[in-house]
Every structure is written in C-alpha cells, then in structure tokens.
Amino acid sequence: MISILILTDPANSDIHILQKNSKMPKNKKLFHIKAELLSKKYLKFTVFKNIKFTIKTGDSIAITGPNGSGKSTLLKLIAGIEKPTSGVIEYFYNDQAVNQEQLIRYLGFISPTISPYNELTGLENIQFVIGSRDINNINTEELLKRFELYKHKNKRLKYYSSGMKQRLKLLISILHDPPILMLDEPGSNLDQNGKDIIYSYLNSERNKKIIIIATNEEEEAKLCNGSISFN
C-alpha cells in the first residue's frame, strides 16, 4: 500500500485535497503526473491558483465542487487540452518524460464537449479511432456487448440517445487501453443501468490506471481513492 502524494499551497484555502491509500498495480508500467504551482486565469478572473499534486498509476482522484468552480478546467489542463496561466504539468511513463504531443497515446478523455461523428455509425466511429491510433488485437464486439451497444452498432450516431452516446464515448476512450483515464461527468445523461456499466468498468480498472473524474455525483466520487475539492 502506498499513499497518493497530493500537495497544495496551504495559502490557497479554496482547494482541499484528501489523501487516501491506493493499491500498487501489479504491472510495472507506471505513469505519473506531476503538477507544480498550477494556476488558471481567464482575463482577470482567477479560476484557481498554486495547485500542486502528484498522481500515479493506481490512483483515482475525484475533482469535486460546485458548477463553475474549475473542475473541468483543471481536467483539461491535466489532459493538455488547455494551457495553465502559470505552473507546469509533467508526465512520466516508466520514468521517461512524456511530452504534450506524445500524451494522446496514453490518454483516454471524455467530456460533455467531446462529440464523435454524428454522420458515422457507432461501429464506424470505433473503426475510425482504431485506424487512427493503429490499435491492434482488439475485440470490438466484446466491448460493444459490454457497453450494451452491440444492437445499435450500425446506427448513425445522430439516431443514438444521449445515454448511448455517453457509453460510446467511454468505449472509444478506452480502445487503446490508456494508462490515464480522465472523465468529465461520466454519469451525465445515463440511466441507472448505464451508470452501472460505466462504474463497473471503472472499478475493474481502478488499480491499473490513473483515473481522474470531475463530478458532482457522490456515487462517482466514491469510486475514487482521493479527491480534490473546490469550494
């Protein structure tokens, strides 16, 4: 058992970080993310400042807080989609530094702002990502069945319900078996059955990956062994 090392600037009282224990994964391929004095400003509005943390494989972190507190922004910064106003985020895979360009190989990311192609079917969207990422040896049928999308695989996405789209987004984000999984409100638009499918997947992968979830749902926060909360 090792503890997650998450530190923040004590002067910043708006952000509380809870430390719990995480299990060390059995495989030796370890990813770790280190953030130093991370701040984000939009014009004069400061979203957050001076956040420090280190997360490694086996850690699962929930980012919680009210709407507009900066949960999604922090997630985007960690995913390299947005740049911090100040501070740095470093990524290491087996102690080798990973740059921003290489990061997409290791990252699975879903958010309400991401949309697969509505004009393509579910299966075509999956095949597009498999081809683009040069993924081999993947059992697409099994994944489609696991996410209860097999029956709908040949339907264009514009005819999918929002819950089906959400399940497809998660399926697509894990096709390349990424060591980092970042989920912004993964349970949104899902019924209880859809949530169960996603939560069961996250539970099964918790110790093998870094999982970061931005959420307001208590149920989702409970899946994680650490949290960053914005007040």
Binding site: I81, E101, P116, Y117, E124, S132, R133, D134
Partner: protein, 225 residues
C-alpha cells in the same frame, strides 16, 4: 509515430472524410451548384456573343475560385461547428489530420474540375487548341487552390469559424495563382502545341511551398486553445 502507423491513420481519416461527405454531400453540392449556376448564367447573359479566349480563361478560373472557396472551406469549420474537433484532436496527430484533409480537398477539387470543365466547354463553346497544357494547368492550378484553401480553412475555423472571412483572407495568397493559371489557360486556348513549362513549374513550386509551410504551422494553429 511509425510510417506505417501514420499512413494507416491518414487512410482512416480520409475514409471518414469521404463517408461523411458522401452522406451529407455538403462540399460537392455547394461547389457544383455554384459552378453550374454561374456557368449557365454567363452563357445565358452572353446569349451567343463570341468572347475572346482571354475572357474565357478569366471566367473559367473565377468560377473555379469561388467554387473552391464555397465548398472546400467547410473541411475544418465543420469540425468546429459540430463539436468534433476535440474528438479529432484527442485521437489523431496534427500531421495525419492535415495530410488527410489536404488529400481530401485535392481529390474533391479535381473531381469538381472533371465535372465543371466539360460543362463550361459545352455552354461557352470553348475550343482548346493545346489540350495537354490545358489539362496540366487544370491539375497544377487545382493543386495550388486546394492547398491554399486547406490551411486557410484551418485558420478560419480556429478564428471562430467565420466562413465569410475565408474568401477575403485567401485573396492575397490566391492572386499569384490566379494570375498564372489564367495566363496559362489563355495560351492553351489560343495557341497550338504551346507548352508553358515555367507557369506549370511555378504552380508546382507554389503548391509545394504552401504545403511545406502548412505542415510547419498547422500544429500551432490546430492546438491553439
């Protein structure tokens, strides 16, 4: 990324572009409608009055230019409008995105030329005196216009997808290309067996420069917040 993986990624992206295009046919429909309507309108307006080869070359490339501007700009703005740009960015490298979109625009533009040129020849009773130089001008001119529109479409899409900006910002880049292709087309309509290798070489070199600069700049344009 290995070369085979990069090629696979470009092919996969290209397949996606063509599937989407042939399901909603936006670029082709817009460009073809524009070209067909303007060709017929010019033909009717002229009402059989003969015009000089120079004028025929000018009108032909004006139609091709505006068809390209209307149809091909959509390649990147569509990603922004439909919210798929982040999905694309997270799954495909910038180099593969640019390569596939560039190849897509070149193929679509050449297809448009294949359809529009016979229409134009028929409605305006164009006589081509040097067929091979004419075809080579079409190809090299098409290559130049498609490469310019691809990188400019990426810039415009990131500038808030303001499609109306597209024709305006493309004008300074397109001007030398239009100048050369009009001249070269005029010569192939007017003179027999007259090859304008300098013009064709200029167009090829211009396209190569635009493509090289696009590959250098695209990553910064695409990854801009």
């Amino acid at each position: 990324m290995e070369a085979s993986a990069s090629i696979k990624s470009v092919v996969s992206n290209l397949k996606k572009e063509f599937t989407i295009e042939f399901r909603n046919r936006f670029a082709v429909n817009v460009a073809l409608s524009f070209a067909a309507i303007s060709t017929i309108a010019i033909s009717l307006a002229l009402g059989g009055i003969p015009i000089s080869p120079k004028m025929k070359a000018v009108l032909f490339w004006i139609i091709m230019f505006f068809s390209a501007m209307n149809g091909l700009s959509h390649i990147f703005t569509r990603e922004e409008e439909e919210g798929t740009s982040l999905f694309l960015r997270l799954n495909v490298t910038p180099e593969s995105i640019l390569s596939s979109k560039l190849i897509f625009n070149i193929i679509i533009f050449l297809l448009l030329q294949i359809i529009i040129t016979p229409l134009y020849i028929f409605f305006l009773q164009v006589e081509i005196k040097s067929i091979i130089p004419f075809l080579l001008t079409l190809f090299t001119g098409g290559l130049s216009l498609a490469s310019i529109t691809t990188i400019l479409a990426a810039i415009v899409a990131k500038a808030g997808g303001k499609g109306s900006l597209f024709t305006i910002i493309s004008f300074p880049l397109v001007l030398p290309v239009l100048w050369i292709v009009i001249n070269s087309t005029f010569i192939s309509l007017d003179k027999q067996n007259y090859y304008q290798y300098n013009n064709l070489l200029f167009l090829l070199a211009f396209s190569a420069t635009i493509i090289a600069v696009s590959f250098l700049l695209f990553k910064y344009i695409w990854l801009e917040e």
